[in-house]
Amino acid sequence: MHVQPRIAVLVVLAVGMTAVPLVAHHSVPGTFNVEKTVTIKGTISKIDWINPHIYIYVDVKDRAGAVTTWKIETLPTNHMRRAGVTKDEIWQESRTGEVTVHMYPAHLNKTAGFLLRLTFPEGHFMHLYGEESEITR
């Protein structure tokens, strides 16, 4: 089922996201710039479904055709499991083209970030962290 972007936005608004950061000793703000959202488009080349955190690798092509692989960190595996999100679902849903990734950029690594939202080629998405306003800012 294809979800129109307008509906998708309403979904986010409807649930009234009041997300709080995960309890962290090495906090998200300590590693990522939570004041900024970076958006990239590319193809998912690899998913590491490991603890303590999952990594999704996204290959981004520039105008000259050069590929840069971004390393996108996201939730722990048991959070994903409880949410009903599987590695296979992310992998299969991303096979038809480019995904769009909204993320907090890492402070140090210029091609790394913490995933806020992963939007699949067909328009539906997984909003895994942060608030709706952080996507549109």
Partner: protein, 281 residues
């Protein structure tokens, strides 16, 4: 970034009306998992199941995550909301609290904290230890023992806790989760933990302990909720026993513990360039 505790009022109204305000005063009530309905308050109002010997039956899968995930799906889109209902006085996320160390150890704590990305054993996929591993996740109770299983970020861990009068074992090596013995005090199971490995920490940010540390946990089932309390005694380094912020967890219906995913220690160099490791126990 402003965060709004939007469901606070509704949450407390429901809890108080069911007469479990006393529990609220002392413990953090965890978010009810999806599908259980009614949250912790309604769960506490249910009858407490008992085993043949009359003790409360602590068996079950207990929801111990304070911070979500609460999942909303519409069509093929999904939104994960990491917003457990905030609890007054506890902020909107679980905070185990901090032990009071003797002044002469504060510099060491700071050093460990500052270098935790390198020296925190749990940050490198090591076992978290007690009480850092947090409250029980899956319990199997028999007349002889309590089995606690954990699906932790760092792997699957278990503890076997005799509850039939056996004493602490002697002549065994210390271990990350120690040697535990349980006894009933009324309807509360009191677990004494000894022989903990000195390498583990009590919590994030450099909270070291000695080999002589003693941890006492208390488990109390009320209906379909389980209260977990823990007190840490380590007089050589602590000014006073540390009372960890208690947790109350609802029973998870239709859920079972799973094998943890592989924990990969990617090394400090990798982390220093862009990794985040959150303690979501």
């Amino acid at each position: 970034m402003t965060r709004h505790p939007s469901r606070l009022g509704v949450f407390f109204a429901g809890v108080l009306s069911l007469g479990v305000a006393a529990w609220l005063a002392v413990a953090v009530i965890d978010a009810a998992p999806q599908g259980t309905g009614g949250g912790a308050a309604a769960a506490a109002a249910k009858p407490t199941p008992r085993t043949a010997d009359g003790h409360p039956d602590l068996s079950g899968m207990w929801y111990r995550r304070l911070a979500g995930p609460v999942t909303k799906r519409v069509g093929k889109s999904i939104v994960i909301v990491n917003d457990a209902p905030p609890v007054e006085g506890a902020g909107n996320r679980y905070n185990p609290g901090t032990p009071k160390y003797k002044p002469q150890f504060l510099a060491r704590i700071k050093d460990l904290k500052d270098d935790q990305i390198n020296v925190d054993p749990a940050f490198h996929c090591g076992p978290p230890g007690v009480p850092r591993i947090g409250p029980p996740q899956r319990i199997v109770q028999t007349p002889r023992e309590l089995v606690i299983m954990y699906d932790d970020l760092n792997g699957n861990f278990f503890r076997l806790i005799p509850i039939d009068g056996r004493k602490h074992r002697t002549g065994i090596e210390p271990s990350a989760h120690g040697d535990s013995v349980g006894r009933w005090e009324g309807d509360t199971l009191v677990i004494e933990v000894r022989n903990l490995l000195e390498d583990t920490w009590l919590g994030d940010n450099g909270l070291f302990h000695t080999a002589d540390v003693k941890v006492t946990e208390r488990l109390t089932r009320q209906g379909d909720t389980l209260k977990w309390e823990a007190i840490v005694e380590d007089p050589e380094v602590l000014q006073e026993p540390w009372k960890v912020t208690p947790r109350i967890m609802p029973l998870m219906a239709n859920a079972e513990i799973e094998e943890a995913a592989f924990c990969e220690d990617r090394g400090t160099a990798d982390r220093a360039t862009g990794d985040y490791h959150g303690n979501v126990r």
